[in-house]
Each structure stands twice: as C-alpha cells, then as structure tokens.
C-alpha cells in the first residue's frame, strides 16, 4: 500500500459564528484507508464531512488532497463521492432514471451499467417504480447504488447505515473492502461498528475545543 498520504487534515479547526466546535485536528489518510468518525451527538461529525466536501470552509488549518489545498476545484470534486443525510434521489423518478441523472453529473466506472449497479444495491425488484413508493431503506439503497456506479477515489458518507437492514449492511461492507483494495479512501460517520478489519477510528470528541 502507498505510504504517501492522499488526504491530509492539517491542524483543522472549525467555529460557527465564532463558537468553536473542534480544533487541532491533524490526520493523514493513504490509499486503502477506511476511517470511521465517531463521537457523541453534536460533536461535529457532519460538519467535518461537509468541510471535506468543501461545502463549508474550515476556520483554521487546511485540507490537502494529493498535496494541494482543496478549494472546490473540479479536479478534487471529480475524485469525490459524498452521500449525506438526504439520499439525493428524486422521488418522482424511478431508480433507473435517478442513476442516469447521476451519470450526467459524474464520471462512471468502467465495465458497469446502471442495471448491474442497482442489482448490486439489492434493488432488482424495484428499478422502475417511482422512488416515492419506496421504503426508507430502499431509498437509502438507491442513494448508495451511486457508489457502485461512480468512479471516485474518496468516499465521504454521513451515517450510511441509517435505515439499512442486515443484508444491505453486509453488501456495503463488502463494497468497502473492494474499494479499499482498489486504492480508494473511505471516510464515514456512524454510531454503529462495521465488521470489517482495519477501520481507523477518529474519536472526534477528543478534539472538541476547550472553550466549549
């Protein structure tokens, strides 16, 4: 495995309206790393993920990707896949149509079709019904199907296990394994532990700013 870090967080701090949330956060992730952000409710996991997507900017410190500071440039975004709390799925469209739209925005993996991606996500029976008729877990699966489809190195996932049943969690774990073997990086937040080996843990509460 490569030893030069791909993603580096350098002395990162975030304050919202001058109210500090976390500080002095430094981490380096190499190809093949899987990191779980854990910590009590409200410690800033979602905020940290948003910073990594460039949706928020850090108050101090910087985030480097391949040695360069990230700044919403297309180069970084092209390597990034983010799935947040909201699934990002149009309820009026079918799962297949949603995936087609996803391909309009992002580069696809080689050798994969929308059909196989949806099958892998366990949606074989409901590819062509409007997503408004899907259950909470099925909707999350549609969102996660994008991970099978897209060609991205860095995955940022905010509580990806929400609403998933045990089969879907097992599928996701094996997907994580495949991605790390291919040299990808996964950063995800969750309150549940995954049953894959070598997951690095970032206990965010340790970096909570002292003033708080």
């Amino acid at each position: 495995m490569a030893t030069t870090p791909l993603l580096e967080l350098q002395n990162l701090a975030f304050e919202r309206d001058d109210w500090p949330l976390f500080e002095s956060l430094s981490i380096a992730l190499c190809a093949g790393d899987v990191m779980q952000i854990s910590g009590p409710n409200g410690c800033g996991k979602t905020t940290l993920l948003h910073i990594l997507t460039t949706l928020h900017s850090p108050s101090y410190g910087s985030v480097l990707w391949r040695g360069e500071a990230i700044n919403g440039s297309a180069i970084y975004l092209a390597e990034l896949a983010f799935i947040g709390h909201q699934p990002g799925v149009k309820l009026a469209l079918t799962a297949r149509e949603n995936m087609r739209w996803c391909l309009g925005l992002f580069a696809p993996r080689k050798n994969i079709t929308i059909d196989t991606a949806l099958d892998s996500a366990g949606l074989n029976t409901c590819k062509d019904v409007p997503c408004s008729t899907l259950s909470a877990g099925q909707l999350r699966r549609v969102a996660l199907a994008a991970l099978y489809l897209r060609d991205a190195t860095l995955w940022l996932l905010d509580e990806p296990l929400t609403a998933l049943d045990s089969d879907a969690i097992a599928d996701l774990e094996s997907l994580f394994e495949t991605h790390r073997r291919a040299g990808g990086i996964i950063v995800f937040s969750s309150h549940q532990a995954l049953s894959i080996d070598g997951v690095r843990n970032l206990a965010l509460a340790e970096f909570t700013a002292k003033v708080h």
Partner: protein, 251 residues
C-alpha cells in the same frame, strides 16, 4: 513603490477590519460627530425655518425642503454605502464591512421611508394629493423595496456569516440594476407624463434658500455617519459578545 503602497493599504484595511479597532476608534469620534451634526442641524433649521425668505409660489410650505431634500439625497447615497461595504466584504473578506453593510440597510430604509413621508406631506399643499406616480417618487419607492429585501434576507438566515454573504450578493445585484431601474422608470414616466404636474429642477432655488439647505445637507451627512457608527457598534457587540474584549467592556 506601488507594492509598498498596496501593502500599506492592505495593512490599514486589515487593521480597520478588526471590529475591536473600529469599536474603540469610533468610540473616540462619536462625541465630536454628535456635537457637529446636532450643531449643523439646529443652525440649519433655525436659519431655514426662521430666516430664509418665503417662496413666491408655495408660501411657507416649501420649508419642508430643508428636511425632504437632504433625506432624499442620503437615502440614495445610503444604498451605495451599503453596496460598497458589501463588495469590500465579499472581495477582501473583511468582517467589519459586513457589519457596516447590515447596519446601513435599516438606516437607509428609514431614510427612504422618511423621504416618502416628507414628500407626501409636501405633496398635499403642492399637488393637492398625497401621492402621484411621478418618476422620481416611483424610483424612490422601488429603492425602498430594495432596502427591505436586504433587511428581510438578513433577518431570515440563522447563520450570521451566511446572512452577510447573501446580503452582500443581493446588494451588489441591486447596484448593477439600479441605473437600469431608474432609467426605465424615467422613460416610462416621459411616455405617460400627465400635463398637470410639474416638478421643477433644483436650479430655480433662490440663493438665500440654498445656503441653509447646504447647512442642512451637511448636518444630515454627519448625522448619517453618526447613526451608521452607532448601528455598527451595536452589531459588533451582538456579534462579538463572546470575545474577551467585549466581555471586558462590561466590567
């Protein structure tokens, strides 16, 4: 040489950009500014209301000019003050400029409202009605809406930082559009111009009326600066109350 000037400007900007520096410096200016503006306003009022000659056509009712005209002028300038502050904040990311911008909005809206009010009051004796759809009046009304948009937007956000950026963008978009809006309203009015109403230009004004008017305009300028500073100081305290220097103030 140019670089050192640029550096100097930058350094000054950033020093000026510190809310603490702004608060402490303006604190020293406030008393002087207050004395000057009150002095000018009192002088101008006495001069204008008591000693300036009567208008040939309008009698004494014209004397509202001494309030109406300065307020109208400031109301328009106020928008550019706000937009300029917004631009500075967006480009150089200077905190204090944001605070000036959001403090200028309600002040400008209040002035615009007063301009509309004093104008209406003046309209009754002059035109026999409180309101006509004249170009200048209509533009003023639209300006009022532009101000209200910025105020409402500012209030709607929970995150102060986002509110600042959003207001800055809106006031810049507004600035680009103001000339277009004014021109189109002017053009619209000339199309429809009803013959009954005539707004004469300021050129017809008698020099004895002009002098107190200038004093009043200067007085209102100082007054505007004074209120803007006070507003901004309040905004600073509201924003920075956690910082140690603000806490130190109350002890």
């Amino acid at each position: 040489m140019w670089q050192s000037i640029l550096k100097f400007i930058q350094k000054w900007f950033h020093r000026f950009g510190s809310p603490r520096w702004f608060y402490q410096t303006t604190g020293k200016w406030l008393p002087y500014l207050a004395v000057i503006s009150v002095g000018l306003l009192v002088l101008g009022s006495i001069w204008g209301l008591g000693f300036a000659p009567q208008d040939a056509r309008q009698g004494n009712s014209y004397r509202i000019i001494f309030i109406h005209v300065p307020i109208s002028v400031l109301a328009m300038i106020g928008y550019y003050v706000m937009a300029a502050a917004g631009a500075v904040a967006l480009i150089w990311k200077i905190k204090i400029a944001n605070m000036v911008m959001v403090s200028a909005a309600p002040l400008g809206a209040a002035l615009t409202f007063l301009a509309l009010l004093t104008g209406s009051i003046w309209g009754k004796p002059t035109w026999g009605t409180y309101w006509v759809w004249d170009a200048r009046i209509t533009s003023m009304l639209i300006l009022f809406f532009l101000y209200l948009g910025v105020i409402a937007l500012n209030q709607a956000f929970t995150s102060r930082d986002t509110a600042y950026k959003a207001c800055a963008i809106l006031s810049l978009v507004g600035t680009v559009n103001i000339p277009i809006i004014y021109k189109s309203v002017d053009w619209w009015y000339t199309l429809h111009q009803p013959a009954t109403i005539k707004l004469t230009g300021a050129s017809s004004i008698h020099p004895d009326m002009l002098k107190p008017l200038i004093v009043m305009i200067l007085g209102f300028y100082c007054f505007y600066a004074l209120v803007l500073m006070l507003n901004t100081r309040t905004e600073i305290l509201a924003r920075e109350w956690r910082s140690s220097w603000v806490r130190g103030l109350s002890q």
